[in-house]
């Protein structure tokens, strides 16, 4: 893969430098909802809940959260454009209980920076509108932390808190379709429907890197977004 990708990039850069036209650069920002399942992390909540001696409730459980992103593309060929893309995803969960005696919570925080390349091809290209198929691919840089806290009595009569941090990387491949409608030159609105595949993830536990992490965040799932392109 590396042997093919590197010569391709060199050729592409040479071509771009030779034929660069600033009007062919497109910039876009978008935001939407991602529907990542995070089944591993949800199962952690379930297991934790079972192990606790008191009744708890899963209050938040990785519900869809807004994500944000941006990209730039250069129309390298007719109807074909490519460029870097960035998306920021985060989510979390809370397992907890609270009564007169105190409060217990088990929180998971995940966030990911997806950096990659966006390849797009316009199936329909008209002056006012376009319909594009895309293929985004890149790396997910993920941070995952858990925060367990038990506080009994007033003024912290008994307080116990544990925080654990994980980091990980994985590859994503995201096919998508996009519909663009030009409002006023050069501003267009677009809607995007994509599905991410999270591949070859590798996570480590910061406090003990030798630990084998068997359950981890997965950034695979449906993404729906709208955005503005210039």
């Amino acid at each position: 893969m590396r042997k093919i990708f590197l010569p391709f990039c060199i050729i592409l850069s040479l071509k771009l430098s030779a034929q660069f036209d600033p009007d062919k650069i497109k910039l876009g920002i978008h935001s939407g909802l991602s529907f990542f399942g995070q089944e591993d992390l949800k199962s952690i909540n379930q297991e934790f809940k079972k192990q606790l001696p008191f009744e708890t409730e899963i209050i938040d459980d990785f519900k869809p959260v807004l994500f944000f992103g941006g990209y730039s593309q250069y129309e390298l060929l007719n109807r074909f454009a490519l460029g870097p893309v960035y998306e920021y995803h985060y989510a979390g969960s809370r397992l907890g209980a609270r009564d007169y005696s105190g409060i217990f919570s088990f929180d998971q925080y995940i966030k990911s920076h997806q950096i990659g390349m966006k390849f797009s091809y316009s199936l329909i290209s008209e002056p006012q509108k376009a319909f594009i198929v895309e293929m985004n691919t890149g790396i997910n840089i993920t941070k995952w932390k858990t925060d367990t806290k038990l506080e009994i009595g007033e003024e912290g009569f008994f307080l116990q808190q544990d925080k654990d941090n994980f980091t990980g990387k994985s590859w994503n491949v995201t096919p998508a379709i996009r519909y663009i409608y030009k409002i006023i030159n050069p501003v267009s609105l677009f809607g995007n429907l994509a599905y991410s595949f999270d591949l070859a993830g590798k996570y480590i536990y910061e406090e003990d890197k030798s630990l084998d992490v068997t359950k981890a965040p997965h950034w695979g799932g449906l993404k729906v977004s709208i955005g503005v392109e210039f």
């Binding site: 609270r98 005696s101 008994f158």
Partner: protein, 639 residues
């Protein structure tokens, strides 16, 4: 292009602002859980040993059990004087044992405190309850008394006699490490037993099975929890009350005794009579316990002490009753009137008195008035194998050995008459086989086949004669006037004892006659009369065990009178005042009577049985026995 650049800057800034976005968890809703009561519910705690004040003398285990119902038991803490006890062991989930080691806690004697804390769940269902942070805390303070010396003072007190039995007592050991008392008894050889007492406050026990007379050993063991123990014992007996003995005028004997204080455990009364030599012994088993009197089957004899022994035979004793060792219950009795006891005695002529010696103390005793004179006491010389004192025939002198010398005293006033070396000792070895004193102070000795005669007046040796080896000298009796001597010698060839009677002529002996068969039995009479009577009595075998008593003239050895004595009777004492001799039956089985023989008339009469080996003196018709009794023989004729 400018627009695009602005767009890029805007886009980059927008994306960086996103970086701070993070998941914000929702508020946790409040669960309505009821607070537990501030007053803890009751729990049941069982502490052992059951003592309001825990008393400790040594290393001690404490048992703690708790019943908390549905509430979970979280923790138990033991603190001794606010210091935690590390040795806490779980027996089950509700029972624990704590070990208080007095060796390590080094607490002084006195009061201390053991604090026991119990922690349980509240069962409120709250987070704090479920995580064990919310707890009920129960605290017990147990006063502790420490006395490490308690077990060192554990002894069995002297048994005490009460109406209901023998009470054994010991110091109360009411301490936590108490396991039990074990009181055992051994009434050798027939019975032993043991009781185990688990109440530490029961520090006495009444032995209701004890019967008087039994030697009993009581042992008390104090056993602690563990393997340690203390022990003490005491030997005990109650002497049986001595029975009353009444010797009747007809020589019958009545015995009377008292009941045992614990007659419920008496099997029978056992009475045995030990008798002097040649007497009749007898024993009786009295099964009717209501009967406390007995008349002996046989009448008693004279001359020795009888002993009656009463035993309470306890139930369960099935051996020979005579083998049961008992204490007390012994009464001594004898026939005759009471007189002073003596070991040697001689008649003092003309004074109606006897010179008596007992244990080295000599005194005169008037047998008509019962009066005693002053006494003289002499230390015994080593290894003397003849009677302690020797008196002259008329009783005017007596002598004894003191510091290896022979001391002579006058009987009249017990005054010192002289002393001399009669060559009695070869180093520390006492050589003298026999010694006699004449009325005029001559001393005849027999030593290593030498006959020697000394004069106490001059202190000189008058005669020394060695007898050839065909005779072994045994006795030498010098006559009252010192002119004759009777020597008893064993003839090797003849195989019998021969009495050689000689007159003393200067340093020579002139034999006047001989008698064979002399001295075959202990106590057979060979004696000189007082000087005034001029008689010499010798008894000897005519045939085997058949004696002849001869009265001879002490000056010429002329035979004056002779009588024969029935077979197996031995003439043992002679009365020169009445010329009568008493012969004692000295064989077995014993005979019921003895003989009194008149040497002049030859008339022989049966008299009371003479028993024992006590020394006898016969004068004026009265026989005095060394056991402190006397009889007038004419009052005890049987025919």
């Amino acid at each position: 292009m400018k627009i695009k650049l602005q767009h890029i800057i805007f886009l980059t800034g927008f994306l960086f602002s996103l970086y701070a976005c993070e998941f914000t968890p929702s508020e946790i809703p409040l669960n309505e859980v009821k607070k537990p009561s501030e007053i803890p519910p009751e729990i049941l705690i069982d502490l052992k040993p059951e003592m309001e004040i825990l008393r400790i003398s040594g290393p001690t285990w404490i048992s703690y059990s708790v019943e908390t119902g549905s509430r979970e038991l979280y923790n138990i803490e033991f603190k001794f004087d606010n210091v935690g006890i590390g040795s806490l062991y779980s027996v089950s989930d509700r029972k624990f044992k704590a070990f208080i080691n007095t060796d390590t806690i080094r607490k002084d004697t006195g009061m201390h405190e053991l604090e026991i804390s119990t922690y349980t769940s509240t069962n409120s269902g709250s987070i704090a309850d479920k995580t064990g942070i919310e707890q009920y805390w129960y605290k017990i303070s147990w006063p502790v008394y420490v006395n490490k010396l308690a077990k060192d003072n554990f002894t069995l007190n002297d048994p005490e006699v009460f109406s209901d039995g023998i009470t054994l007592s010991w110091p109360e050991y009411d301490y936590a490490d108490f396991a039990r008392y074990e009181l055992s008894w051994n009434r050798y050889p027939y019975e032993s037993g043991e009781v185990s007492i688990s109440d530490p406050r029961q520090n006495s026990y009444c032995d209701k099975l004890y019967v008087e007379g039994i030697y009993c050993k009581y042992t008390i063991n104090l056993l602690f929890k563990g393997e340690d123990f203390r022990s003490d014992d005491a030997s005990f007996f109650i002497a049986i009350e001595n029975p009353e003995v009444k010797v009747n005028s007809d020589r019958s004997v009545d015995i009377k005794w008292v009941h045992s204080k614990n007659e419920a455990y008496v099997q029978l009364y056992y009475i045995d009579v030990s008798v002097p030599l040649y007497g009749y012994s007898e024993d009786h088993e009295i099964n009717d316990l209501t009967n406390t009197t007995l008349r002996l089957s046989r009448r008693i004899g004279f001359g020795g002490d009888y002993k009656v022994r009463l035993r309470y035979i306890p139930k369960g004793f099935d051996r020979y009753y005579s083998t049961l060792e008992t204490a007390g219950g012994i009464s001594t009795f004898a026939l005759g009137d009471s007189v002073p006891e003596f070991q040697t005695a001689s008649v003092i002529q003309g004074e109606n008195s006897l010179l008596l010696n007992k244990n080295g103390t000599c005194f005169k005793w008037n047998f008509l008035t019962g009066e005693s004179s002053a006494s003289v006491t002499f230390p015994s010389s080593p290894n003397v194998r003849i009677p302690d004192i020797t008196g002259s025939p008329d009783g005017n002198y007596f002598g004894y050995f003191e510091n290896k010398e022979f001391v002579i005293r006058r009987t009249s006033d017990l005054s010192f008459a002289g002393k001399l070396d009669v060559e009695a000792y070869d180093g520390s070895y006492f050589n003298i086989a026999d010694l006699s004193i004449s009325n005029n102070g001559l001393i005849a000795t027999v030593s290593n086949n030498y006959l020697r005669i000394f004069d106490i007046g001059t202190g000189s040796k008058l005669l020394e004669k060695y007898f050839s080896n065909d005779h072994y000298l045994k006795e030498a009796l010098i006559s009252p006037d010192g002119k004759n001597i009777a020597i008893v010698a064993n003839g090797y060839q003849e195989g019998t004892n021969t009495l050689i009677y000689s007159s003393i002529d200067g340093d020579q002996l002139v034999e006047a006659g001989r008698v064979n068969g002399v001295g075959n039995d202990d106590g057979a009479v060979v004696t000189f009369s007082p000087q005034a009577d001029q008689k010499f009595v010798v008894s000897h075998w005519k045939e085997i065990h058949r004696y002849v008593v001869e009265v001879r003239d002490s000056r010429t050895f002329e035979l004056l009178h002779t009588v024969e004595i029935p077979s197996l009777f031995v003439p043992v004492v002679y009365d020169f005042t009445t010329d009568r001799v008493i012969s004692r039956y000295q064989s077995h089985p014993p005979e019921k009577y003895s003989y009194l023989t008149d040497m002049i008339s030859g008339i022989r009469k049966k008299i009371v049985q003479f028993t024992g080996k006590e020394p006898l003196v016969f004068t004026e018709g009265i026989v005095f026995s060394g056991n402190g009794r006397s009889i007038v023989v004419d009052n005890y004729l049987l025919d």
